[in-house]
Structure formats: structure tokens, C-alpha cells
């Protein structure tokens, strides 16, 4: 009898079509893609949990990961089933109401996986009846959404040379878009599209040029061969322009720019690629000739808004380099750029958006103090845009670093950093969740945090912004005023993004805190 009830109450798994992904807002109970929609908004239209009742938010269930690696996943939810990735490259399907495991995919990895910053994974993609995950040994794997069985497994690149995958794939139309990590190993970066059904490579866009290509002139000598420009954070897609918008990472080696004089294209760029062909439509480089490891691998946010009296298609980008950018996403034209956190490296941006560098800010053997830090004013974790308040929410870091210059000898499979960094001893670092007016970059409100955060934000139609602190608290703020309305100590440093879904008519908010996934609901 009980079994029969359970079977009845588990909804039928319907295919996740491209149409459903395009119209993700129309099914607010699900969370179908990494950022909630293709526009990178990380906004939930659900409004059962509101500024009026969020004080009663309480854990519904907790899922503990067996891994002590950073737990960075954003869960996807489709029709009563939650799909999470776990470090290093595992996938687990859970019942959204009970937290009980439905299936597990456990990947066997080589002993000496080469990945710079943790054997982590930020989430899966879903399309049709398949769930997709990238692995730290640089494979893309398609799993049966009902069973977790491997349907295909393709090698994206060789992990022995420092290629790895930590990014959540993006499923668009009939393709799976997957980026690569390895910016600290002197790889040649790229962005790939695979046929969703077969795993056949549809196209590859190299983020670093080949010999003879015009962009190779932006690299001294043959330094482009170790150019990096990895693509390790999920981008956005606009069906109207049919363009993919993706951020690229630091040039290699990170801190020794002497061996790679020039602008180093397409490192630290936003690239706009035709989804069908992978051809570059336009690019914008935020930090030409970066020597501070300021990857432009943040999540781009796409909105349509009036900009200086004209209706425009915009791309918002709070960059790791501490400048906030607004671009025209049809043409790539630079519209606005201004600092949004403490920075000491640029006098400002010129009319084309190019930074005007200050002298004495390059790394040295003895160490150079520069703000922001290596981790930046922002990083891979997500911002959020609310169509209700029309604010862009960003978890912002206020800290500097001492940057060191060092040797840069390339050896395949070994880190190729050319220096290093440390925190500034005695510096009082801090952070804030800030609400910005997107078209001007003005701060609408700020909620201060004791230390810099390393986790993203979610806004909801309940006039709420969810986020977290580095010390383990998940918090809810009033989206209009920034007032603290709720908090919960989850017991471990938070390095992830929140999301929300609905199951059996009940709204939940989920986020990994430390090494556990917490799912909250209103106290019954």
C-alpha cells in the first residue's frame, strides 16, 4: 500500500526539450539549467517563501557528501527529481521531497588527476532523457536520467597535460556546450559543442590562436602555445541573437607577463559565438595582458533595458578585476565600466573600455601589493538579476594581495604559474552583498559581511535575496532594502550558489553549505 502511494506520487519523468529550457520561467517549480534560465539571471519566480514569512525557514532535509573536497554544485530539479554533481566527478539523483537517493553515478579516476584548485564540479546539464557531466579527467559523460547508466563518454582533452573539467555544461538546442579548465597548466584553451544525442564533436572554438592567425600577434614569439584562456564557468545564451556568451580565463603563465608581451587574445575576454557554427561574432577583452590571474570567468547576465534613453540588449558583467561592465550584447560595444570594489591597478577605463594601468602594479620577485586579490572582487560564483526589483545582486570581495613574479618554464602536466601570491598580512578583508542599478552601476544597497564571501546569490519573486558567508551561514535579505531577514549556520565554508524549486506544491531553497546540501522549507 505504502509502495503504491509512493509510486503514484512520483511524477512521470517527461523529456526536457529545448523548448522547456527556453521557457524555463514558465515552470518555476523546476530548475532546468545552471543559472535557472539561459540569461544567467539565477532568479526564481516562486513566491511562497517571502519577505513576510522567511523567518520561519527551516531545514527540510540534508544530504551529506562523502567527499571533503569543496561542494560547489548547483542542483537541477526536473519534475520531482534533483540532480547534483559531487566532487570529484560524481552524479547523484535525489527525491526532491525526502532527500533520498534514487541513483548514483560514481566515476573511477586516475590517481594523479591534474587540476589546479580542487577536484570539484559545479553541476550537471539535462536535455532529452540524458544528464550531462564534465569530469576532472576531462571527459564529457551522458547518463540516463532515469537510472544513471552511462549512455556515452567522450574524451574532451588529455588530463596528463593539465586539462580538466569542473564547469557545469550548458544544454542548448541539440548541443552540449562544455568548457575546459587548466589555466594554471599552460593549456591551449577552447570551448566545445557536442551533439547531445551522440557525443560527436560539433565544433571547437580555440580561445588561443594558432600560428599565423592574426591574434597570434598579440602574443610575443610562440608564447601563444601556452596561452591558457580556459573556459571553466558556465556562460549564457540568447535565442534572439543565437549567440552563446562565455567568459575566458587568465593567460598563462599567470603572474609572469614578460614571457608573453602583448594583449594575449582571447584571454580574460567575453566571447560571443554563433551557437550553430561556433564562429566568433565579437569579443571584448576586460584585462589585456593580465598579470594578476583575473580570469573573466564570471556568469554573464543578459537583460533588455533602456540604456541612456535607448532600448538595448545588454550584457552585465561584474568582473574579477573589480570593474563592473555593461556591453551591448548584439555588437559587443562597450557601454559602461566602473569600479565596484577597491582596486589600485587602473586609473580607470578609456572610451573603448580598455583599462588605463597604473605604474608599479605588476608582480615583482619581492612582491607587489595590489587590490583586488587573486580571488578578485568577484569570482566564478553567480550574481543574480531580479526582474521585479530590477537590481543586479553581486557577492563582492574587498581584499588585496601581494603578487610575486617568478620563473616560467613550461613542462607538460606541471603547473605553469610564473609567480604566486599571498594575502596582505594584517589586512582587514571584508565583503558585502551589493544591489546595483544595472544600467548605471550605482549601489542601491549593501549588506556587509565580516570576511569576503566565496558563494553566489539567488533572488526570488518573494522579494528575497539568498546568499551565504564564508563562515557557513546561509542568509536571506530583503531584495528591496538589503535588510537581514533570516540566517542559518550550516557548519562549513560555503562555496556554491543557491537555487529554488517546488515539489508537491511546496517551495524549497537549496544550497550546499560546507560538505552538505541543505534544503529548506517553511516550518510546517
Amino acid at each position: 500500500m505504502r509502495l503504491a502511494l509512493l509510486l503514484l506520487s512520483l511524477p512521470l519523468l517527461a523529456q526536457v526539450t529545448h523548448q522547456r529550457l527556453l521557457n524555463a520561467e514558465k515552470e518555476p517549480g523546476n530548475w532546468l539549467t545552471y543559472s535557472g534560465n539561459f540569461a544567467g539571471h539565477r532568479f526564481s519566480p516562486l513566491k511562497q517563501i517571502t519577505d513576510q514569512n522567511v523567518a520561519k525557514l527551516t531545514p527540510a532535509w540534508v544530504y551529506q557528501s562523502n567527499s571533503l573536497q569543496k561542494f560547489e554544485t548547483t542542483p537541477l530539479v526536473v519534475d520531482g527529481v534533483m540532480y547534483i554533481s559531487e566532487a570529484p566527478s560524481h552524479v547523484t539523483a535525489l527525491d526532491t521531497r525526502t532527500g533520498r537517493v534514487i541513483w548514483r553515478y560514481r566515476r573511477t579516476l586516475p590517481d594523479d588527476v591534474r587540476v589546479c584548485c580542487g577536484q570539484v564540479n559545479r553541476g550537471v546539464a539535462i536535455l532529452g532523457d540524458l544528464v550531462y557531466v564534465g569530469t576532472v579527467d576531462a571527459h564529457l559523460v551522458a547518463l540516463d536520467a532515469k537510472t544513471g547508466a552511462v549512455r556515452w563518454d567522450v574524451t574532451v582533452a588529455d588530463n596528463k597535460t593539465g586539462h580538466s573539467i569542473t564547469v557545469a555544461p550548458l544544454a542548448v538546442k541539440d548541443k552540449i556546450i562544455i568548457g575546459i579548465a587548466g589555466g594554471e597548466y599552460g593549456i591551449r584553451g577552447f570551448l566545445d559543442a557536442y551533439d547531445a544525442k551522440t557525443g560527436k564533436l560539433a565544433w571547437r572554438f580555440w580561445t588561443v590562436p594558432a600560428a599565423g592567425e592574426p591574434e597570434a600577434k598579440t602574443w610575443a614569439g610562440e608564447s601563444y602555445k601556452r596561452g591558457s584562456a580556459a573556459t571553466w564557468v558556465t556562460g549564457a545564451y540568447d535565442p534572439e541573437t543565437n549567440l552563446l556568451y562565455w567568459g575566458t580565463g587568465n593567460p598563462g603563465p599567470d603572474w609572469n607577463g614578460e614571457v608573453r608581451a602583448g594583449d594575449n587574445l582571447y584571454s580574460d575576454c567575453l566571447i560571443a559565438l554563433d551557437l550553430d557554427t561556433g564562429k566568433l561574432k565579437w569579443h571584448f577583452q576586460f584585462t589585456p595582458h593580465d598579470v594578476h590571474d583575473w580570469d573573466a570567468t564570471e556568469v554573464p547576465v543578459l537583460i533588455n533595458a533602456e540604456f541612456r534613453g535607448q532600448a538595448r540588449k545588454l550584457l552585465l558583467f561584474p568582473n574579477r578585476n573589480a570593474f563592473y561592465y555593461v556591453l551591448d550584447r548584439v555588437t559587443g560595444q562597450f557601454l559602461l565600466g566602473k569600479p565596484y570594489a577597491k582596486q589600485t591597478w587602473a586609473k580607470g577605463l578609456d572610451d573603448s573600455g580598455r583599462p588605463i594601468r597604473l605604474p608599479g602594479t605588476f608582480p615583482t620577485v619581492e612582491g607587489t601589493r595590489v587590490w583586488p586579490s587573486v580571488a578578485g572582487a568577484n569570482n566564478w560564483y553567480s550574481p543574480s538579476y531580479s526582474p521585479d526589483t530590477k537590481h543586479l545582486y553581486v557577492a563582492t570581495r574587498e581584499s588585496g594581495a601581494v603578487y610575486y613574479f617568478g620563473n616560467a618554464e613550461y613542462k607538460a602536466g606541471e603547473q605553469f604559474n610564473g609567480g604566486g601570491f599571498r594575502s596582505i598580512p594584517g589586512e582587514e578583508e571584508w565583503g558585502a552583498i551589493r544591489a546595483f542599478k544595472p544600467t548605471t552601476g550605482e549601489v542601491a544597497w549593501e549588506y556587509k559581511l565580516f570576511t569576503p564571501p566565496y558563494s553566489g546569490v539567488l533572488s526570488t519573486a518573494g522579494n528575497l535575496v539568498f546568499g551565504a558567508t564564508a563562515e557557513g551561514q546561509m542568509i536571506a535579505l530583503d531584495a528591496t532594502t538589503g535588510k537581514l531577514l533570516w540566517r542559518f549556520q550550516g557548519g562549513g565554508t560555503v562555496r556554491s550558489n543557491p537555487m529554488s524549486y517546488q515539489s508537491d506544491g511546496k517551495q524549497y531553497v537549496a544550497m550546499t553549505l560546507g560538505n552538505s546540501l541543505y534544503v529548506f522549507h517553511l516550518q510546517p
Binding site: R114, V115, V365, E366, S373, E409, P425
Partner: protein, 252 residues
């Protein structure tokens, strides 16, 4: 401890093939190692390696790194749960830094002139050091433990700390003063803090915890609670105390 956090963004991969012997020990290597050391290490370990915030490196045998290979590993990966971070230098630079660190212990350190036995008396009576510091199972917990301090810090550094302790206060021993909404004032050593709460140890040694919502003011005092002994001890007493501490090697 908070300033360590960004380093953890870079996971430090331990390769399987570190040689046993330092392959970069020429005079030129040591010279380059010195440059690297001055930029990255001297801030805590002192320009001549005799310690400060960091351990005394000017000793013939390093307690945690008797072998070349273990010194390399410590410079590369740091020491967990301490303030010693790892480093992203490449293999050659790590070895050069290790070669310079090794050379620090090959020069004789300043002779210890005091009488350790007399210093033990100063430590217990006139100095009243045990009222704040622990030695073995005795003493207080307001200041850093001095058990085995002679193995970690050089005599010159110990003397400087006793004479002028305010010059450099370790992060874990910040002195804070707070006032509660009920009007109570409390001073102590900060144990932990986040956006919403603060934990401290009061001068009776008891841990205390407060919600920031219940506090009207928190002041971080830049000074230390440790008295400066300049002028309070005679030169002989000071040298004896330093000799006692420098000989305190902890339980072996």
C-alpha cells in the same frame, strides 16, 4: 588565520617525484633563493631567519624539516593548521629557497649569555609569565603557549618580544573590548568571529560567546595585553629569562 583563506583556492597537488637531495645548491642558487626568501618568507621568519611571527630557521637542524625533501614539501604545501602557507613557486625556485633556508642554520647564531637556571626563577616569580602563558601543564591560556618555545624561536626574537611585545601581535591573540546592550563591558582575547557573533577568552581564562546583535560596540585594541618588560627587569634578569626560554625545548 583569516589571511590564509585565499591560498586555499589553489589546491596544492603533491607530485610523486620529489628528489631526496636538493639539486640546486650552488652559490648562485643560494643568492637567488635569498631574493625569493626576502620577498616571501622574511616577513614572518625574519631577514636572518631567526624567527618572528614564523619559526626560527637559523638552526642547524629544522625540527619539521630535517631532510631536504621535507623542507621542500613544507615550502611548497605549507603546514596545515598553522600560519605557514604553501607557495606556487616552481620546483627550481622552491629548491633555491630551501638552499637559502638551509644556509641560515650554517652560521652560528648569537651566543646566549644569560643563566637559564636563574631565568627559571625570573619566569616564575618576578616575570609572572605563568599568569598568562602555559609551560607544560602549568600556567594560563591568555597568551601563546611557551612549551617548546626555544625550539621554535631564536633568542634575539624572544628578547625583542619581551622588551616590546606590542610590535607584532599574532592574529590569534588579538585583544578586544566589547560593550553589551545591558551595559556590561568585557575585555579578552578574540578566539573567533563572524558577521553575527564573536567568541573570546576573558582574563579568567573562560571562553565567552556573544551575538553581535546584543553588543553595542566592539573595539579591537591594537596593543597587546602583555606588559613590556623594558625597565621592569634588569639586563641580567632579562638575559637569564631569554636563556631559560631559549633552552625550553619541550617534552622530547
Amino acid at each position: 588565520m583569516f589571511w590564509l583563506a585565499p591560498f586555499l583556492l589553489f589546491q596544492l597537488q603533491q607530485p610523486l617525484d620529489i628528489p631526496d637531495k636538493n639539486p640546486h645548491t650552488t652559490a648562485a642558487d643560494i643568492e637567488q633563493g635569498k631574493r625569493l626568501y626576502m620577498g616571501r618568507c622574511a616577513g614572518c621568519h625574519g631577514p636572518s631567519g631567526d624567527g618572528g611571527k614564523g619559526a626560527n630557521l637559523a638552526v642547524p637542524t629544522l625540527a619539521r624539516a630535517a631532510a631536504d625533501r621535507s623542507l621542500y614539501r613544507i615550502i611548497r604545501y605549507g603546514i596545515p593548521d598553522t600560519e605557514m602557507p604553501g607557495s606556487l613557486m616552481d620546483a627550481k625556485e622552491l629548491w633555491q629557497t630551501a638552499a637559502f633556508v638551509h644556509s641560515l642554520g650554517q652560521v652560528p647564531s648569537a651566543p646566549i649569555t644569560g643563566n637559564a637556571q636563574a631565568g627559571a626563577q625570573v619566569f616564575k616569580s618576578k616575570g609572572a609569565c605563568l599568569s598568562c602563558h602555559a609551560l607544560g601543564n602549568e600556567g594560563g591560556r591568555i597568551g601563546p603557549s611557551l612549551t617548546g618555545i626555544g625550539a621554535r624561536r631564536g633568542a634575539a626574537h624572544l628578547k625583542a618580544k619581551i622588551v616590546n611585545p606590542a610590535a607584532d601581535v599574532p592574529d590569534q591573540f588579538r585583544l578586544v573590548q566589547l560593550t553589551t546592550k545591558a551595559g556590561k563591558t568585557m575585555r579578552g582575547i578574540r578566539l573567533n568571529e563572524d558577521t553575527y557573533s564573536i567568541q573570546l577568552r576573558d582574563f579568567s581564562g573562560n571562553p565567552q560567546s556573544f551575538w553581535k546583535a546584543d553588543i553595542t560596540q566592539i573595539t579591537q585594541e591594537k596593543k597587546t595585553n602583555m606588559p613590556a618588560y623594558q625597565g621592569k627587569l634588569t639586563d641580567t634578569e632579562l638575559n637569564d629569562l631569554v636563556a631559560f626560554l631559549a633552552n625550553e625545548k619541550g617534552a622530547q
